[in-house]
Every structure is written in C-alpha cells, then in structure tokens.
C-alpha cells in the first residue's frame, strides 16, 4: 500500500541509495518516536493479554487442574453427554434453518433492485442489537402459560417452552442474521451477469442457482455457517430464559457450565467450558482461512 521501491526496475547504486533515503524520510513522517512505539505496543499487548489471553488459558488450566482422567471423567458424565447432544441437535436445526433463509434472502436482496432494501437489511440485523434475554423473553410471551398461544398449546398438548422446539426457536432468532449477512455483500459484488448468461442460454432458475451462483459463493456460505454455528452452540442468555433448566433434558452445554459452576464443580464446569472454548478457537482459525479465500475472490484493486 505504501512503498514498493524494492521491486521496481533495477537502479544504479547511488540512485537506489537516494531513493532509500527519501523513503526513510517519508516513513519518518508517518511514524512516532521509538519510545512511543514501544509504549503503544506494550499497552496493546498487555491489554489483550489480561482481558483475552488469560481468561482463555485459565479455562484450560482449570479443566485439567485435577489431571486428564478427571477431565475425561467429567465429560463422560451422562448429564454432560446429554448437554453435548442437545447442543448439537439445536445447532443443527437453527443452522440449517438460517442457511436456507440466508440463501433465499440473499438472492432476493442481492440480485434485484427494489425500494426499502436498506430497511429490510436493518430488520434482518435486528437480533444483533437485541439483548439475548429479550430474545428469549419474546418466546415466553408467545408460548408461555400466560402467553398469546399458551392456552391453545396446552389444549393441544404441544410443548414448545422448556423443550427442544423453544430452545431451537430462541437460538434461530439469535443467529438469524449470520448467513444472510455473509452472503448479501458477496453476491452484490458478483452482480448478475453470469446468472443472466445462464438463463439466456436456457438454464432454469434452480439450475442457474446451483450450477452458477452456489459455486461462486461457496466460501461465503461456509463463512456464514461457521459463525452461525459458533453462536448457536454458545448461546446462553436466550436459551437460559426458554429452557427451564431441566437436568439431562433441556440443558445445553453453556447452561450446564452455569449449573456446574454454581455447584462448585469447577473441574466439570471448566471441562465443558474447554470444549466450547476449543470450538471458539477452531472457529477463529477456520474464519481466518476462509477470509483469505474470500479476499482472493475479490478484485485485487479494491480491498
């Protein structure tokens, strides 16, 4: 972005030296004295270490504080296994719902022009700015005993709250924007030319989508699914409000962390927490790799 003298055309030695000196002088205009640089780097590193690195290290240190056997024994508890299974089921449901929604919404929003587009995107983004507790509360008000549909549900013996459907709904609410938000800018950037060509050559709409659009956006889809999944598995506030905390039945992994921690079962709590922390770290690594793939897809001139 700044200076690229190194790989310019071969220069005679004095010329190169003069250039280097000029570059150094220009560089000096864009940086601070060494002491200031060191102070800023130290502050930044210290801040991130205290607030981010230490808590992460602590999770693993606590989880293994009684040895590796205690760690695996904690994870093999039936309660832990039930929570892991429920978390996987709920994440599978909400990620697939939001994947389909994200693809459909991105097609409508990115490939067509219509009034109110910005407003529609704002509505899709809403769950990002709503407190997780409120995201759970809205479903209690709809389906709870005193809720709008509470009576009807009881009469028909349908359990939504304090059961898997309620947890899946609240999780879907919270993770709603992820896939759509990953795809809309990507598909807008890619335009409609390739799809129009396919259609004019006689491809059906679905063929065009699966053979032309999908291959172009596959990294974006993966990116959205990845972030959506991380949030779905880790959601706490919304799920906590609708779950009812029935042990072995409606506890997801984050809820079990809370229960075990409050019962002073620290090794067990941090063992489950370490699984979630590993999920977060793997998600970040995969995200970094995907971002590289996504950047390659863009025009080099506009980053």
């Amino acid at each position: 972005m700044t200076m690229q003298i190194a790989d310019s055309a071969p220069l005679s030695a004095p010329d190169a030296r003069a250039r280097a000196r000029a570059a150094a002088a220009r560089n000096n205009l864009r940086t601070e004295p060494k002491a200031v640089r060191i102070a800023i780097i130290t502050l930044a590193v210290l801040f991130l270490s205290v607030f981010v690195v230490l808590p992460l290290v602590l999770v693993f240190a606590q989880a293994f504080s009684k040895g590796i056997l205690a760690y695996f024994a904690a994870l093999a508890e039936p309660e832990a296994l039930a929570a892991i299974k429920l978390t996987l089921v709920v994440a599978a449901i909400s990620v697939s719902l939001n994947l389909v929604f994200g693809l459909v919404a991105a097609w409508a929003i990115a490939k067509f022009e219509f009034t109110g587009k910005t407003f529609l995107i704002t509505l899709i983004d809403l769950p990002f700015s709503v407190s997780p507790v409120i995201s759970g509360l809205v479903f209690v008000l709809l389906f709870g005993a005193q809720g709008y549909f509470g009576g009807w549900l009881r009469d028909h013996d349908i359990q939504i709250l304090f059961a898997v459907p309620g947890i899946a709904l609240a999780t879907t609410f919270v993770t709603f924007p992820f896939v759509a938000r990953a795809l809309i800018p990507l598909m807008q950037e890619q335009g409609t030319q390739e799809e129009e060509a396919a259609i004019s050559l006689g491809a059906s709409g679905l063929q065009t989508f699966f053979r032309v659009t999908l291959p172009n956006i596959k990294w974006g889809v993966l990116y959205g699914v990845l972030l959506c999944n991380a949030r779905a598995m880790g959601e706490f506030g919304a799920v906590s409000v609708v779950s009812g905390h029935i042990r072995g039945e409606t506890n997801t992994m984050p809820l079990l962390v809370e229960i075990l921690y409050n019962e002073y079962q620290f090794v067990a709590a941090f063992a489950i927490a370490s699984l979630l922390a590993m999920l977060a770290l793997l998600t970040l690594i995969a995200k970094t790799i995907l971002e590289r793939h996504l950047d390659e897809g863009y025009d080099v001139n506009d980053h």
Binding site: I41, A44, Q62, A105, F112
Partner: protein
C-alpha cells in the same frame, strides 16, 4: 415496503424468494418482537411508569447503562491503541494478537463469565494480587465493568481497523512535510477521518454491553440495587411470573437499542459521504 418492484426482471425467483424472506422474517423476528410491544400496551401508562421508575428497576437500568457506557469508553481508548499497534507497527506475535481480538465474539458468553470470575475472584490469578492492593473486582460493580470491557473489545478494533488501513499515506506525508508535528498530524488529520468509525465502534460496544447477560452475571454478585443488571432483573421477574414487569423493562431496553441502531446508521451514512476521492 409496499412498493416492491423488481427493476431487473431478467432473473427468475424474485417473487418467491422475497415472499419467503418476508414470511420467515415475520415468523422468527417481527411477530415475536411485536408480541413484546403488544404485551406492553396491556399496561396503562401509569402502571408502566410505576414499574420503570421503581427503585430496583431504576438502579438496574443505571448499572447496565452507566457501566456499559464506561466500558465502551475504555474500549474506545484501548481499542484505538490496539488498532494503532496492529496496523502501524510490526512486532513479534502481531498476527496472533490480531486474531485474538475476535475471541470475545467467538467465545460463548457463559465461558467468558466463569473464566473472568475465576480470574478476578479473591484467590484468582489476578484477583489475589488486586486484593492485596485492596481492590475487589469479582462480585462488585467493578466486575460487571471488567466483563463489559471484555465483550466490547472487538467492536472498536474491527470498525476502525479497515479505515485506518485505508487512510491515504500522502495526506499524512503532506501534513508532515508542511511542518505539522506528528501529534498535530494525528489530531488534525488522522483523527477526523477516523471519527465516524470510532463513534460507530463506541455505539456498537455500548449496545452490546447494555444487553449483555452471560459474561456478566457470574462476576456481578447480583446484589439488588448495587450490582444487578437490567437483563438479570428481567430474568428474575420472569421467574416470579411478573410478566408485566419483565415486559416493561424489556421495552425500555429495546427502545434504546433501536435508537442506537438508528444512530449507527446515521454515522455510517456520514462516513460514506466523507470518503475522500482517490
């Protein structure tokens, strides 16, 4: 939204995908949120006011909003320092620290909550030395503040980072060669171009911290009127089956979120309008 008209009609599927999008959006997001607002209209204005202005609610709102704002300000300052170090300097581990900034986004809030609590508890790695200095963090409002700083870290960094990367080197060089001191260049040239991004980051960090639940409740101590956050009070009212109270508090928080979204949208439009011509 009524006048939805597809201008480009060459591609198929607009009606179907738009219909599905609006339906699904309504079912999952809009109807549940509307249900909350509708529920609050069952309260008379006096009842609503009585709930919101009760001592415990007011204190919970004060704790949530006050500490969230303080934490967002810390994030603004520390986030700027982190961004500056990551974008402008080269140091060992820079890429790892860059990646680590996203951890508060990715780490489940309950995990962050128990980890921060153990870290800052009286016998914790940081809590013990702090306690020796007479500073109590865990189970006090300071703990809430710490947790809110944690979850706000990525917002300022990630909104400012791309803008700082894109600042034209020549403007800075011009300022410098025309005799501005480095400090003057930063304050008069760089800071104004970062201002929209900084304010957006501040607003996003604030919005996130106000609604935060998972990472806060473990470390908060949850003493009514002192260290009880508004989201927790909603949960408590729900468990007492006082749905009206829960709804009223939620509406107040929701309205504030909407105001913040609106402000952020304005800020981004402002930022777009002032993109320098290249």
């Amino acid at each position: 939204m009524g006048a939805i008209a597809a201008r480009r009609r060459t591609l198929p599927g607009f009606g179907l995908t738009m219909g599905l999008t609006l339906t699904w959006l309504s079912v999952i997001i809009l109807i549940p949120l509307a249900g909350l607002l509708l529920k609050s209209t069952e309260l008379s204005l006096d009842q609503f006011w009585a709930i919101v202005s009760s001592r415990r609610t007011l204190n919970a709102l004060r704790v949530s909003f006050g500490l969230a704002f303080a934490a967002a300000c810390v994030n603004l300052v520390m986030g700027s320092i982190v961004v500056w170090a990551l974008v402008r300097y080269r140091f060992p581990g820079r890429r790892i620290f860059d990646a680590i900034v996203d951890v508060p986004f990715a780490l489940p809030t309950a995990v962050a909550g128990v980890a921060l609590t153990s870290l800052f508890a009286e016998k914790g790695w940081l809590g013990a030395p702090l306690a020796a200095l007479g500073i109590k963090v865990a189970f006090t409002p300071v703990g809430i503040f710490v947790a809110m700083i944690f979850i706000g870290i990525p917002f300022v960094v990630r909104t400012v980072q791309p803008v700082l990367q894109d600042i034209d080197a020549e403007i800075e060089e011009a300022a410098g060669s025309l005799g501005a001191s480095r400090w003057q260049t930063i304050i008069r040239v760089i800071l104004p171009s970062l201002a929209p991004a900084l304010l957006t980051g501040l607003a996003l960090a604030f919005a996130r911290a106000v609604g935060e639940y998972g990472s806060v409740i473990f470390i908060a101590g949850n003493l009514p009127n002192v260290s009880e956050i508004a989201p927790l009070l909603i949960v408590i009212r729900l468990s007492e089956f006082r749905y009206a109270d829960a709804t009223a508090i939620a509406v107040v928080m929701l309205v504030v979120s909407f105001v913040i979204i609106f402000a952020v949208n304005r800020l981004q439009r402002w930022a777009q309008d002032r993109v320098p011509v290249r």
